[in-house]
């Protein structure tokens, strides 16, 4: 998934059109977008929206309130029967949090007649403690398929000033990414919060992609096109990847041990990267020959 779009769980108009903006995933939000006195209403609205609208154009993620709040159990009760692709727990700071969540999911899935493990987890890590425990969180349960950095709460926890260029979250980005890749799962970058700064968004998304993130969340539908573009292989990358794989094939055919392209040795990391680019290209249905 390149893009994950936040949709406030208490906004019927946005829920109605949640899946038209081209996001690879929608995050229906029961947490920060919803004030405490509206939690129950949002839960009902999200449940009815998912049942009635049957979102087909993308993965379904539901963000729930943190463990230890009075909303956590009610959220799970309401959300599991909808069989979302992912549940996004919030303020995740330890492996124990994930284990506790996974146990609850085991029970609720059984109650709802869902296959065990059907619902995956994308923990939202947004505290200093959570960042330090990122690898343990990633490895806490097989349901965990990705880590997601929430930079707003995290920088507040650090006593840092949140900036557009994001120097204050560089460590967290690196830490999350390394933990996720070490656990062989995906990593998602924090949203860019200025909805009117298209240039800033493009820079921020490119940085995240170059660092190695799988994709990025968005708080505005208007950010989706740019994020998708940033996390899709470019025409030049696809071309290069094709050349790499062709050169390797050619080398094999000629029985060569070492193969070079454009004057540079092609070693295993280059080949692996080329394969990933081609896989992404096929998954996204990009031909790489138009535009």
């Amino acid at each position: 998934m390149r893009s994950m779009l936040f949709i406030p769980g208490n906004n019927p108009g946005m829920l109605l059109n949640a899946d038209v903006h081209g996001a690879d995933a929608m995050i229906l939000d029961l947490e920060d977008a919803v004030s405490p006195d509206q939690k129950d209403a949002a839960r009902i609205l999200v449940r009815n929206a998912v049942r009635a609208l049957d979102y087909q154009n993308g993965k379904l993620v539901i963000r729930i309130n943190p463990i230890g709040t009075p909303f956590f159990d009610d959220d799970l009760q309401a959300v599991v029967p909808l069989s979302p692709d992912y549940i996004m727990p919030t303020k995740v700071d330890s492996a124990e949090y994930i284990k506790a969540l996974s146990e609850k999911l085991d029970l609720l899935e059984a109650e709802c007649g869902l296959e065990n493990g059907k619902i995956s987890i994308i923990p939202l890590i947004e505290t200093a403690e959570g960042i330090e425990n990122a690898f343990a969180i990633a490895k806490a349960d097989k349901r965990v398929k990705a880590l997601f950095l929430g930079a707003e709460d995290y920088s507040a926890d650090l006593h840092a000033v949140r900036s557009k260029q994001g120097d204050e979250i560089l460590y967290a980005r690196g830490r999350i990414l390394n933990a996720a890749r070490a656990a062989a799962i995906d990593a998602y970058d924090t949203p860019f919060t200025d909805v009117n700064d298209e240039e800033g968004l493009e820079k921020d998304a490119s940085l995240a992609r170059e660092m190695g993130f799988t994709g990025k969340a968005a708080i505005s539908p208007r950010h989706i096109t740019a994020i998708n573009a940033a996390f899709s292989p470019s025409k030049a990358e696809i071309q290069y990847a094709k050349e790499v794989l062709e050169a390797i094939e050619e080398g094999k055919r000629l029985g060569k041990g070492a193969v070079s392209l454009r004057g540079k040795m092609i070693d295993k990391p280059v080949v692996d990267r080329a394969k990933r680019v081609i896989e992404d290209m096929l998954a996204l249905g990009l031909g790489g020959d138009d535009e």
Partner: protein
């Protein structure tokens, strides 16, 4: 000769205003217009009854007309567009004689061919000289083009220019020429600048509108019409204007040099002219101050009359040269007939304007509309009013997919080949109804509130009063 009249009332007396006359107005001052209300108030004071108001548009600012209808001062309205406030009163049956709707092209044709006879034309002029040469580019009420007033000034028995900014003779340029003007009146103010044009026209920030606009731009890209010499018209509102935002980078990438932009002109189209995307703008109506300024200063920004813009009765008109037009809809039916006259409950809240003219003229007419508004689906079995016939509509673009008129099979194939989300219009209708349900039919009254005259002069539909 001295054409000056000391007051509006004096000018009306000189023009011989009488019961039963047809008096005309243009709508360049839009929702800031004072002139129609001033004239009707004056007529009421003079005890005049039974007037037919022949106005290119009636806006919400013209609400006082409702009182004049109640008092018998006005007994008929002919117009191309009617805002929701007056429209509601008309739909409730306040007027005995049905309103006659025309289009921006059909109206000047009816005037020029004599199907409409105007006794007195009142031309609100932001700037005029004492002989009646007038334009819309100078003065505190500057509105830009005066294109909709041209036929009125030329063909009315008597033409009165009403201005609040008197210039030295001879005023140049003259959108209205002295040869057609009988009297000139100077008043304090012809309008409220804030309601005439906006400072800048903002592109919508509604993500659904933007999604629709982006898809519409891709429809143009893959339609086969986007090539050097491309000409384009779009409206100022909602998703329509936003199409230009997405079309611009496509034109740049494909290195397309456009020919002209047409219609109501916004600052956005002015930018495209300046940046070389189009060579000319043909302007029948300015929507914002940037457009007014450009019309004043840029020789490639050309003022055109309503007749040259869109009349079906002239040898050729601008719309006949148009490649693509983006249009709105309150309803579209499964035969692609479009309603822009009434809302989903049958209340009058609009009118064709140039809708049916540009749809008929353009090689590619694209309707942009959300799949539903509030709880009501936009695609229906039968539009409450046929404003623009389906055989002139090519593509519908919604946020969940597009539909191509079955008569345009080659176009459908092009768009399908480009991997655009093409559906049958019935499938889009089902998609909407799956969410909204199918609303009950609206029950309307028996009385006719308005008749819609198509641009060729035939009656294309009748709008019934609401119950």
């Amino acid at each position: 000769m001295n054409k000056r009249a000391e007051s509006l009332g004096a000018a009306m007396k000189k023009a011989g205003i009488q019961n039963g006359m047809t008096i005309s107005f243009h709508h360049h001052l839009r929702n800031g217009d004072y002139v129609m209300n001033m004239v009707l108030d004056e007529a009421a004071k003079m005890g005049i009854k039974d007037l037919t108001v022949q106005a290119s548009s009636v806006f919400d600012v013209h609400q006082p007309i409702i009182e004049h209808i109640r008092n018998g001062v006005v007994t008929g309205i002919e117009t191309n567009y009617m805002g929701a406030k007056v429209g509601k009163a008309i739909s409730e049956g306040i007027l005995d004689r049905p309103v006659r709707f025309r289009s921006h092209g059909g109206r000047p044709d009816a005037i020029e061919k004599g199907r409409v006879k105007i006794d007195i034309a009142f031309v609100a002029a932001p700037c005029a000289d004492a002989s009646g040469n007038a334009n819309g580019i100078y003065g505190p009420s500057a509105c830009g083009s005066l294109g909709y007033a041209c036929a009125d000034a030329k063909y009315a028995k008597t033409t009165i220019v009403v201005t609040d900014y008197l210039a030295e003779y001879p005023l140049s340029p003259a959108s209205i020429e002295e040869t057609d003007v009988d009297y000139v009146v100077v008043v304090d103010k012809i309008g409220d600048a804030a309601g005439i044009v906006s400072g800048t026209t903002q592109i919508t920030r509604d993500p659904v509108g933007l999604k629709i606009a982006e898809t519409a731009a891709r429809v143009i890209e893959h339609s086969g019409y986007l090539a050097d010499g491309f000409s384009f018209q779009t409206g100022a509102g909602g998703a329509s204007l936003a199409v230009t935002k997405y079309l611009k980078p496509i034109m740049k990438r494909k290195n397309v040099s456009g020919s002209f932009g047409l219609g109501g002109i916004t600052g956005y189209m002015v930018d495209m002219l300046r940046e070389g995307y189009f060579k000319k703008l043909m302007d029948v109506q300015c929507f914002d101050l940037k457009a007014v300024e450009s019309l004043k200063t840029n020789p490639d920004h050309i003022e055109v009359s309503a007749s040259r813009y869109a009349s079906p009765g002239v040898i050729s008109a601008c719309v006949d040269h148009l490649d693509a037009v983006i249009l709105g809809a309150t309803q579209i039916d499964t035969d692609f007939n479009v309603n822009v006259h009434t809302d989903s409950n049958g209340y009058i809240m609009g009118g064709s304007g140039g809708h049916s003219d540009t749809a008929a003229g353009a090689k590619l007419s694209i309707i942009v509309a959300p799949l539903f508004r509030a709880r009501l689906p936009i695609i229906v079995d039968r539009a409450l009013c046929v404003s623009t016939p389906g055989n002139t509509v090519d593509v519908l673009v919604t946020q969940r997919g597009i539909a191509v008129n079955p008569a345009r099979e080659a176009l459908r194939k092009r768009l399908t080949d480009a991997c655009l989300p093409v559906y049958d219009i019935g499938e889009l209708k089902e998609m909407a109804e799956k969410i909204t349900g199918k609303p009950d039919d609206i029950e309307l009254g028996e009385r006719i509130a308005a008749e819609v005259e198509y641009r060729d002069g035939s009656i294309i539909d009748k709008i019934r009063c609401v119950k």
